[in-house]
Structure formats: C-alpha cells, structure tokens
C-alpha cells in the first residue's frame, strides 16, 4: 500500500505545471540550425567555408553568363560581340531564337510544321492523364497512348495519305527526332520487354534459352555498335528488294536495345510476385496468358514503374547517339548550328551547350521526379 500523499502532510505535491524554459538560443531557430548543420566543430566550419567558396565560384559566373551579361535581342552575330556592345558578353540568346525552328523541327517543311505541333499536343494530352494516378480509365488511356497514338503520329508525321503531303524522314530533325526515337523505343520496348521477361521465366527450355541469349546479347554490347549494326549490317541481311529508311533502321536498333533492358526490369517485378498468385490462378483453371495478364502482370508492373521510368530516362539520354550515324537529333542540330558563320561568336558554343543542357535536364529531371513520386506512393500503399 502506498500512503495517500494528501493525508500525509509532510509530503509536498505540486499541483500546477512548471512553465517550460525557452530552449537555449544555440539549439533552436535559424542559428541553432546553422550551428548544428553547418558550424559544429572546426572541420565542419572549414568544409562549409570551402563549399560556399565553391558554390560562389560556380554560381556567380554562371548567373552572370546566363542572365546578367546575356544578350537578349539581336539579328546576327554582330549583336553578340563584345566590340559592338562595349561590355563583356554572356550568353547570346538571339542565336537560340534564330535556330529554334531548326532545333525543334530539323528541316521539316515550314508549312507542314503544324503537323509536328499537333503530334506533340496529342501526345501530351494522352500522357498527362496517364501519369496522374487519380484520373480514371487507365487501361483505355494506356491503350490509346501505347497503341493508337503511335499509328496516328506515324500517319500525321510521314503523311502521303489523307490529303497530307509526304515528308521524307531525311528532313526530320531536332527535338522531333529525339522524341520520335525515344517514343518509339518506349512504345515498342514495353510490350516486347514484357514478352522477353515472360520468356526468360518460361517453363519451355527453347523459349527460355532464346530469351536469355537475346537479352544478354543486347545488354552486353554498347548501343553505338547496335546503331552501326542497324545502319550497315541490317541492309545486308535483308533481300535487296527491301529498302529500309535510315531513321527506321535506327528505330529498330534502339527499340530492340531498350527491350532487352526493359525485360530485366520487368523480370525483377515478376520475381517479386509470390508463386502462390500463379498457383491460385491455376487452381481456378485459368490458362497461362490469363494468369499472367489478369493476375501476375498487373501486380508486377505496378511494382516496377520506377524502374520502367528509369529505363525511359536512359533511353531518352541515349537518343543522342543517333547523331553518330548521321541522324540529326536535338544535339545533332545544335552541333550543326554551331557551324553557322552568321552566328560565330566567342559565346555561341557556351550558349548552345547551356540551352541543350537545360532542355535535357528539364526532361530527365521531370521523369526522375515522377519516378520518385510513384515510388513514394507505392511505398505508402504497400
């Protein structure tokens, strides 16, 4: 038994709360944070100062080049020369303005460029709802984006039918080619990658062996050898009555290459699905394709969306390689634009690289943020 403290008069019991002391200045607020995260100990102070110096050494000239000293208006190289302006010259943005159409459309005829715009708009219109988890009709949307959209885009861009003038792929270029190569790679690699991944886990020995050989071969060689293979070797293996478009050859090469990588990503997802799921499907009397299509794949693919997006990012970056087989994608057009004597100034190269770098960064960073978003969402649900 414990004595009742109230009856026992010699015991003091505090009835009201003690007001909390304010925490020491060095532990809270902006100074506390600075002290804990930047200036605790001599080594950290030194590191902080070194980093600050490094940031200043990079950021200050960069901002000066891109914004402060930049030239915003002009018609030719003369407007971007230090002699004309009488001050140090940073980025020469009129150069990008003058070359913008070339960077986006390549040499697509000016009167037909609305077709490219239309394709871009249609793609964006289908892609955005596909990426927002809350929007319904995902399956329909996915079929439209991966199945119907490429066909529509093909007819709109190539033309020759429905009253549209035929535009040769030789005159395509710029961001259009970058997105066409990446888009085709994405649209082909997803179904083909799924088939290869299923093949690799198949019970049938021949199917399994062929899938493994295919996947390991494409993954073992650099993309550039595959592009050379598609450009120089593929025509030799086809009957001489078949003439294959240069862009089409590259598309075949990149699509197969991306499929091999996609197959490995999908395989990771398939391995994560417990065997019981398949066995339950078998017990219900479903066939192989129904088990995969209705039970295993919907779960597996959801798990590997981040990996799929990462493969897309890699594919998007790899599209730059087509410039080595003389197809002028965005980077290739930029490189061609450097050679224009009308815009030859000391800052042209840096301006072009800055612009191309920002464009690539925006695309890839957006995709990687999206994959992080999906990953978080999956973790929350799982």
């Amino acid at each position: 038994m414990i004595d009742n403290p109230v009856r026992n008069a010699r015991v003091f019991v505090r009835r009201d709360m003690v007001p909390p002391e304010p925490s020491p200045l060095a532990r809270h607020g902006i100074f506390g944070w600075l002290g804990a995260r930047l200036f605790n100990g001599p080594l950290n102070i030194l590191l902080t100062l070194l980093c600050a110096a490094l940031i200043a050494a990079i950021a200050v000239p960069l901002i000066r080049f891109l914004l402060v000293d930049a030239v915003w208006d002009g018609a030719s190289r003369v407007d971007c020369l230090a002699e004309t302006l009488g001050r140090p010259v940073g980025a020469c943005w009129p150069f990008i303005g003058a070359k913008f159409a070339q960077l986006v459309y390549g040499f697509y005829p000016a009167g037909e460029q609305w077709r490219v715009d239309l394709t871009f708009a249609l793609g964006a219109l289908l892609l955005v709802p596909l990426m927002i988890p809350r929007v319904p009709y995902k399956l329909l949307n996915a079929v439209m984006f991966f199945g119907v959209f490429p066909v529509v885009a093909f007819f709109v861009l190539v033309g020759g039918r429905f009253g549209l003038a035929h535009v040769e792929t030789r005159s395509w270029g710029g961001l259009l080619v970058t997105l066409v190569v990446a888009g085709t790679g994405i649209a082909v690699s997803l179904p083909l990658g799924i088939l290869l991944a299923l093949g690799r886990r198949s019970q049938l020995a021949v199917v399994r062996a062929l899938s493994v050989i295919f996947i390991e071969f494409w993954r073992g060689v650099p993309l550039i050898t595959i592009l050379f293979f598609a450009t120089y070797m593929l025509p030799l293996f086809l009957p001489d009555t078949w003439t294959m478009d240069a862009l089409l050859r590259v598309l075949v090469g990149t699509a197969l290459f991306a499929s091999a990588y996609m197959a490995e990503v999908v395989r990771g997802g398939l391995q994560a699905i417990p065997r019981g799921q398949q066995e339950a499907g078998e017990a219900l009397g479903l066939g192989y394709w129904r088990i995969m299509g209705l039970i295993v794949l919907p779960q597996a693919l959801r798990l590997v969306i981040p990996g799929i997006v990462n493969t897309f990012i890699g594919l998007f970056k790899d599209t730059t390689l087509v410039l080595i087989v003389a197809i002028f994608d965005f980077l290739g057009q930029m490189r061609a634009a450097f050679a224009d004597p009308n815009w030859a100034t000391p800052s042209t190269l840096f301006t072009g690289f800055a612009f191309a770098g920002i464009v690539y960064f925006v695309f890839c960073f957006a995709m990687s943020r999206y994959s992080v978003f999906v990953e978080r969402r999956l973790n929350r649900e799982g």
Partner: protein
C-alpha cells in the same frame, strides 16, 4: 502421397490439343523453326548482297595494310601496319581510358556518395546537386561539352594554363591579396606566396593541343625497383593470409596497413634511394609555338576521360549512398556498445555489410563505363570502336566481320565481368542465408 498421385487418381484423359506438354513442345518446335528460317534467310541474303556489292568476306583483311594514321597508340604503330594491328591499338586505347576512368570514377563516386550522407548540410546538398545535374544530362552531350566548349576554348600553347600545387597556391595568394583591401592582414597571402615559390615552377600545362606533362625516364636499376615492389606485394599477400588466420584463431590483430605500406612502398623506396634515384623527370619546355619536351596527352583523351569518370561517378555515388544507408543503425550501435572504436566499427561492421550491396551494381557501372567509352567516336578519340568499326569499316566495307569482332570484344568483357560478379556473390553470400 504427393509422390504417387496416380495411385489415388487416374491421370486425367485430355485430348492431345489440350495437353500442356504436347502444346509446349509444338510451340517450341515452331519457334525454333522460325528462328532457324530467319537465320538461313539472313545468311542467304547476306551472301547474295555481298556478291552483288563485290565485298570480300572472311578475315583475310586483317593482314592487309591499313594505311591510315592513329593519333594515340600505346604500342608502336605506323601507317603501313595491318588492320590486325589497328584492332590491337584500338583495344589498348579502349582499355586505357576504361581503366583510368574506372579508377577516377571510383574515388570520386565514393567521395561524393559519402559526402551526400555528411552531417554538414551544405556538403550533402552540394553532393546531391552534383549527382542530379550530371545524371540528368546525356553522356554524349557531356563529352561534346568538355571537348568542344571547355578544351576547345583553351588557349594556344604559348598561353597554356598551368595546373598543379604551385598555380593553386599562387591563385590563393592573389585572392588573399585582393582581400587585403577589406582589412585582411597580409600574412596569409605572404605565406601562400612563399609556399608557391617553394613548390617550384609548374610542370603540367593545359592548352588547345591537350595536356602536357613531364616525361618520366627510368635509368638503369628501374627493373630492380619494380621487381622489389612486386616481391613486396607478394610478401604482403602472404602476410595478410597469415595475419587473418592468426586473428581468427587468437583474436590478435596485426598492423597490416603499416606493414603493407612498408613492404610495397617503403622497400622499393629504399632501393630507389640506394641506387641514387635513377629516375629523371624532363619538364615540358616551351620552344617557339609549342612544347618541345614532355609528354603530350591528346585533348580527345582528356575530354573523354573527364566526361566518363564524372558521369559514372554520379551513379557510383548513388550506389554507395544506398549501400551505406541500407546497413541498419542497430549494427553500428551494437558495435559501439561492444566497445569497438569508431574506425573499427566502420571497417569491420559497416563497410563489409555495405560492400555486399555496393559491389554488384558497382561492377555493372564499371561495365557501363567501358561500353560508354565507345562514344569516343563522337569526338575522334581512337578507341576500338572509332578506329576499327569506324575507319577500318569505312575502308574495307566488311561490316559483318568488323562489327562481329567489335561486338565480341564488348560481349567478352561483359561475360568476364558477370563471371567475376557471380564468383564474388557466391563468396560474399551469407552462409545458409
């Protein structure tokens, strides 16, 4: 019971069309027939096309004279040498840039990966920014940037940019001197200047023709030093095995680091000094419009090496960060509560567990770097792909043989890497896990 199901229930009678085994066999035969048919068709087409275009077949061209120059070669090479030798030259150049790139990318990647976990907010953020910026831009873009924009904008040899300790100290001295206007005492600037003078004149220069370095000439006795270093290495390996066994048996640690340094570095150093330092560095000397002595590294190599190693380092940094973060905190805490000092906690508890996760993706990054070195063709560095699948293919037109050989090299490297990987995984696997 499950072993003899036919005793309990007769095997269900199904039509042959519905028997999964028969269906499977039929599918496989059909698939195999399709693949064989495609192969035969491709072979026949190739034969017809090659005959029509009058392209020679077979590997005889490897004996023919190449007739073109290569601007960097590790072995003696002349224009009159054969395509076979071009292949070797290219292969060595690929391996050179790959090995150096892997070494730099590993050091840089580990440093940045650990920096991302730093308690210093600015260091962690800076490392994070590096990873995001580098990872989200295409490698070919970065190679072209370094080659065209950075190295292309370098001054002519007469205005070369000096690189090294002395120019760095000189720059710091100038910076500190500029700060004297704001009341900084003159002592730090003077100290930096004195240190710069003590470091001597700069030896390494960067200009639009590449990187110029002092030439190393090894006099007589060089082979003796190398032999000593090799002997020291072998002795160290033997010592390490013995020390590990002893520690496993008795728990007594052995100062491996110091003995290793002594055997591999110290011993050759003693011989080196005893022989009277038989190594001479010939510094680059500017004569006329160019450097007369010293070794010149072509700018294509410098650009490719910088781009490959910084790009791969960003990926390695992420792998290292993930690996270290995956080691549960309880492991570190348990080690501390056992009384292990901080360094041993890292070495014996955290790193071995982190390495198990780091090494497999790390090797695949090494392989990626090697494969990516083929982008050299974009700037004209004479690697295997550029000289063999580029120039030699253009000259001979034998696309099939040349591409097959090139692909075989990369495939072989992949297979060797994955074999090493499997061996490592088997060795590192948790027993019974």
């Amino acid at each position: 019971m499950a072993t003899q199901p036919d005793l309990l229930m007769p095997a269900p009678r199904v039509a042959m069309v519905n028997d999964p085994r028969i269906r499977g066999a039929v599918y496989q035969v059909l698939l195999l027939a399709l693949v064989v048919w495609l192969g035969v068709e491709a072979y026949l087409n190739a034969q017809a096309n090659l005959q029509a275009q009058r392209i020679a077949t077979g590997f005889d061209f490897l004996e023919n004279t190449a007739g073109f120059g290569v601007n960097q070669s590790l072995i003696a090479y002349r224009e009159s040498d054969t395509y076979g030798r071009v292949f070797i030259v290219g292969l060595l150049n690929t391996l050179l840039v790959a090995v150096l790139g892997i070494a730099i990318a590993t050091v840089l990647g580990f440093a940045i990966g650990i920096a991302r976990l730093s308690s210093n907010w600015l260091v962690a953020r800076l490392a994070g920014a590096y990873v995001e910026i580098i990872r989200n831009q295409p490698l070919l873009f970065q190679i072209l940037f370094w080659y065209l924009a950075v190295l292309g904008a370098m001054p002519a040899p007469r205005q070369s940019i000096a690189i090294g300790v002395q120019p760095l100290l000189q720059g710091m001295a100038d910076g500190l001197a500029a700060l004297q206007r704001f009341g900084l005492p003159g002592a730090p600037a003077d100290l930096c200047r004195a240190l710069a003078d003590w470091a001597g004149p700069p030896q390494v220069f960067l200009n639009n023709r590449g990187l110029v370095m002092p030439e190393l000439t090894v006099g007589p006795g060089g082979s003796l030093i190398a032999a000593t270093a090799l002997a020291g290495l072998i002795a160290f390996v033997v010592l390490r095995i013995w020390a590990k066994r002893r520690q496993a048996a008795t728990g007594k640690p052995f100062p491996l680091l110091w003995s290793g340094l002594g055997l591999i570095v110290g011993l050759p150093l003693v011989i080196f000094v005893a022989l009277g330092a038989p190594v001479t560095l010939t510094p680059p000397v500017l004569r006329g419009f160019n450097f007369a002595s010293g070794v010149r590294v072509i700018p294509e190599f410098v650009a490719l090496l910088i781009a490959l190693s910084t790009y791969t380092a960003a990926f390695i940094a992420e792998i290292v960060r993930a690996g270290i973060q995956a080691v549960p905190r309880g492991q570190t805490e348990a080690a501390y509560s056992l009384g292990l000092p901080r360094r041993r906690v890292l070495r014996f508890v955290v790193l071995p567990q982190a390495m198990r996760l780091i090494v497999p993706p790390l090797t695949s990054q090494y392989l990626n770097l090697t494969k990516n070195s083929s982008l050299a063709v974009g700037i004209g560095y004479p690697d295997l792909f550029a000289v063999f699948a580029g120039t030699a293919l253009n000259q001979t037109g034998q696309a099939i043989e040349i591409l097959a050989m090139t692909m075989a090299v990369y495939l072989l490297l992949s297979l060797i890497t994955s074999a090493l990987m499997n061996w490592y995984n088997a060795r590192m696997a948790i027993p019974g896990g």
